[in-house]
């Protein structure tokens, strides 16, 4: 290697990642510990305290039904991360397995799966989500399944492309010649190389899912009340923007922070 390769890395990236990790940890901490520490019931209403400003009784104010924003946000953050984590895990698993299968088997299976993936991409993702949600409106699992159904394609495409180029690399061929089986090659040669890319994708995915759920709530397909969830809260509070801008903007702020954290952590790279 000549000296040309020196000094090409960006010093800014790790710092951004660190910031993302810290932000994510803070949010996760808030979501995981918040519901334990904050005693207020996120569903408890006091209509006389509707839109109460931040103060001694409600640290972050109250929403339109007089519920504690702090308690609701803590629960919402936990649920949003849980839900998006679940969704991304499901989509990631499906996409990765199919992608590996397509890369490994090649031929008709590969062509068929790729065509299917391209086709799913051409369909409006929201169509799939809406249709699956319609089976059981307001429930968490169908919501996650629906989004996963649209999300797996991204994992599939990346896995397939990466695995294909990895499988064509000499060290995989060498491993085969050395008598190693599929399981070994997958476990020790392919997955360790794929992992960072898949994690990046998952980071973007989690951010994207939180946004998608928020968007779905906006067109009134969300979770059942009184479930506190960031997207639902965003659209619930939107009409009160003029009267109580602080409370109305808080959920959006948390969505943005969560997405920002995921993006920073996943790196500035586009998908």
């Amino acid at each position: 290697m000549s000296g040309l390769a020196f000094g090409r890395r960006h010093a800014a990236l790790p710092r951004a990642r660190l910031a993302g990790a810290v932000l994510l940890l803070l949010l996760l901490g808030f979501g995981l510990l918040g519901p334990w520490l904050i005693e207020a019931d996120p569903a408890r209403q006091d209509l006389t305290a509707s839109l109460a400003p931040p103060g001694a009784r409600f640290l972050l104010g109250a929403d339109h039904l007089g519920r504690s924003m702090l308690a609701r946000l803590a629960h919402a953050v936990r649920l949003s991360f849980l839900l998006s984590g679940l969704t991304v895990a499901a989509a990631g698993l499906l996409g990765t397995v199919l992608g590996l299968l397509a890369a490994w088997e090649g031929g008709w299976l590969d062509r068929g799966l790729s065509l299917l993936a391209d086709t799913v991409l051409a369909l409006p993702g929201l169509l799939l989500v809406l249709l699956v949600i319609a089976f059981a409106p307001g429930q968490i699992l169908p919501l996650a399944c629906g989004i996963a159904l649209a999300l797996w394609v991204e994992f599939f495409r990346v896995t397939r492309a990466q695995a294909r180029s990895l499988l064509a690399r000499p060290h995989v061929e060498a491993a085969r010649l050395l008598g190693f089986g599929r399981a070994y090659i997958l476990r020790h040669l392919i997955l360790p190389e794929l992992a960072p890319i898949l994690l990046t994708l998952a980071g973007f995915g989690i951010g994207g899912v939180i946004l998608t759920i928020a968007t779905l709530s906006f067109i009134s397909i969300g979770l059942r009340p009184p479930t506190a969830e960031l997207g639902g809260m965003t659209s619930e509070m939107l009409p009160y923007l003029a009267e109580a801008p602080f409370q109305a903007l808080l959920p959006s702020l948390f969505v943005a922070l969560a997405v920002l954290a995921c993006h920073l952590l996943a790196g500035g790279r586009p998908r």
Binding site: S2, G7, R8, P170, H171, A174
Partner: protein, 476 residues
């Protein structure tokens, strides 16, 4: 044409102060090429970058570069000399040419934008330059449609268009096979003959021999020996230079003169073998057999199908016609392969120890097997904990040998196993391989584009031409 260059106390340091090039003082003048010969990491490319003023940002340079009696200006002003006074022929020009622009346009734009010629004159001039280099047929082709040699000539035409008196060439033969390599070196010498000052950097003694002129041998950032190329290569004074000269395959000892044992039973044999890729015949009617304890070399330029032949024999590819027979009753892993690019043959995140442990567990091998092989291949156990990126090409190739030998192979397909290695390492690895063939009673198929290497290594040598295999003549 002017173009006298002097390097005065040129030093390049890394950010932490480690010297990468130390106190270099050299001179070059028109007509006589200056050749910097050295291994990877000897700092020779940095010298060229220092002259261009294109060092990576974190490196520090001291000392002076003087062109025609004037120290070269620093920073942005140096940029103004690019193309006009100093030209740099890039490594692997097929990567440096714009893949989206036709050959003629790439030359013509220099005439127009650098020399300020009007468009029609630029085209005419570009056509002339291409013709001079025998490229008249490719004017309308894109770089990816050119062979490596043609791409190299095209890059040269581009640089000629600006007509700089000083031509720098960074590993001008990297990635070219033997014949193209000689051709490229000759052309560069020709450039010097046309009154240009040529400074070339190479690790290939053959190239240095062809270029002639003034030769400086570099080791770890310093010039260990310099002088006229002819004298230096014939009578090297320094030990390092001597070893370097001896590393040329033509200088290697011939296989032991004693009559060789007759080849053992055939471990791999192919009859009427043929392979087509997308309708194009790569191999046709190939008959070949490799016996125990025998080395068979297949010679040919890149892309002639010699790797395909090896992969067919190993069963990595399915033949389009004919059949391959391997010695019956053996586990498939008794047939092994050595790769051209050693780092790519190892999982990048696995240390050697981990890789070998997995191999041992898979085949139930005792740790002692690896211990013995480490000794035999002269690999210090300390290297075991390194990952591929932390090992040199020679070390990696020996680890590749180690893991193959651990499985007690009967057949080894070596695909240009030494072409990416530095000369001295190449010699070590190749000779080690030769010893092992006899020692282990291996059948070795060696694929290479270096005729001298093939002759020094193999019992039988074949060439591939127009998809057909034939025994090599006595030439080469």
């Amino acid at each position: 044409m002017s173009g006298h260059v002097q390097l005065r106390g040129l030093t390049v340091r890394a950010a932490d102060g480690t010297p990468l090039v130390e106190n270099l003082s050299l001179a070059a003048r028109p007509g006589t090429p200056l050749v910097l010969l050295g291994e990877t990491g000897s700092g020779k490319s940095l010298v060229l970058q220092a002259i261009m003023g294109a060092l990576p940002p974190r490196l520090r340079r001291t000392g002076e570069v003087v062109l025609d009696g004037q120290p070269l200006p620093e920073g942005r002003a140096r940029r103004g000399l690019w193309g006009r006074r100093i030209a740099l022929l890039p490594q692997e020009p097929w990567l440096a040419l714009d893949p989206t622009m036709r050959a003629l346009a790439q030359v013509a734009e220099v005439c127009r934008l650098v020399r300020g010629m009007p468009p029609p004159a630029s085209r005419a001039e570009a056509e002339r330059l291409l013709r001079d280099l025998g490229l008249e047929g490719v004017a309308r082709l894109y770089p990816f449609q050119l062979s490596g040699g043609m791409a190299q000539r095209l890059a040269l035409a581009v640089l000629r268009a600006a007509d700089a008196p000083l031509l720098l060439a960074d590993e001008p033969t990297k990635g070219l096979d033997a014949e193209r390599r000689d051709e490229a070196a000759l052309r560069l010498r020709d450039e010097a003959g046309r009154g240009r000052t040529v400074i070339a950097v190479t690790h290939d003694i053959g190239v240095a021999r062809i270029l002639g002129g003034h030769l400086a041998v570099m080791l770890e950032g310093q010039v260990v020996e310099q002088g006229p190329a002819e004298r230096l290569l014939a009578r090297p004074a320094q030990d390092y230079t001597r070893r370097l000269v001896a590393a040329e395959p033509a200088q290697w000892p011939m296989p032991s003169a004693a009559p060789r044992r007759p080849a053992g039973e055939a471990v791999v044999a192919a009859r009427r073998l043929g392979k087509r890729f997308q309708g194009r015949a790569v191999l046709e009617d190939v008959d070949i057999a490799v016996g125990r304890g025998e080395t068979v070399a297949v010679l040919g330029p890149s892309g002639c199908g010699k790797t395909t032949l090896g992969d067919l024999l190993l069963g990595l590819l399915r033949p389009s016609q004919g059949e391959v027979r391997r010695l019956a009753g053996l586990a498939p892993w008794r047939f092994q392969k050595l790769y051209q690019d050693p780092p790519s043959a190892f999982a990048p995140h696995q240390s050697m120890r981990e890789a070998l442990r997995h191999l041992g567990r898979r085949h139930g091998l005792a740790p002692a097997v690896f211990g013995g092989l480490l000794d035999r291949l002269r690999l210090p156990p300390a290297l075991l904990d390194r990952r591929p990126a932390e090992l040199s090409g020679g070390e990696l190739q020996r680890f590749a040998l180690l893991r193959a030998l651990a499985l007690d192979p009967v057949f080894l397909f070596a695909d240009e196993p030494t072409s990416r290695l530095d000369p001295i390492t190449q010699r070590e690895v190749a000779l080690l391989l030769r010893e092992l063939v006899t020692e282990r009673d291996l059948g070795l198929l060696l694929v290479t584009h270096d005729a001298a290497l093939a002759r020094r290594m193999a019992d039988r040598v074949f060439t591939i031409e127009a998809a057909r295999l034939s025994p090599a003549g006595c030439a080469g």
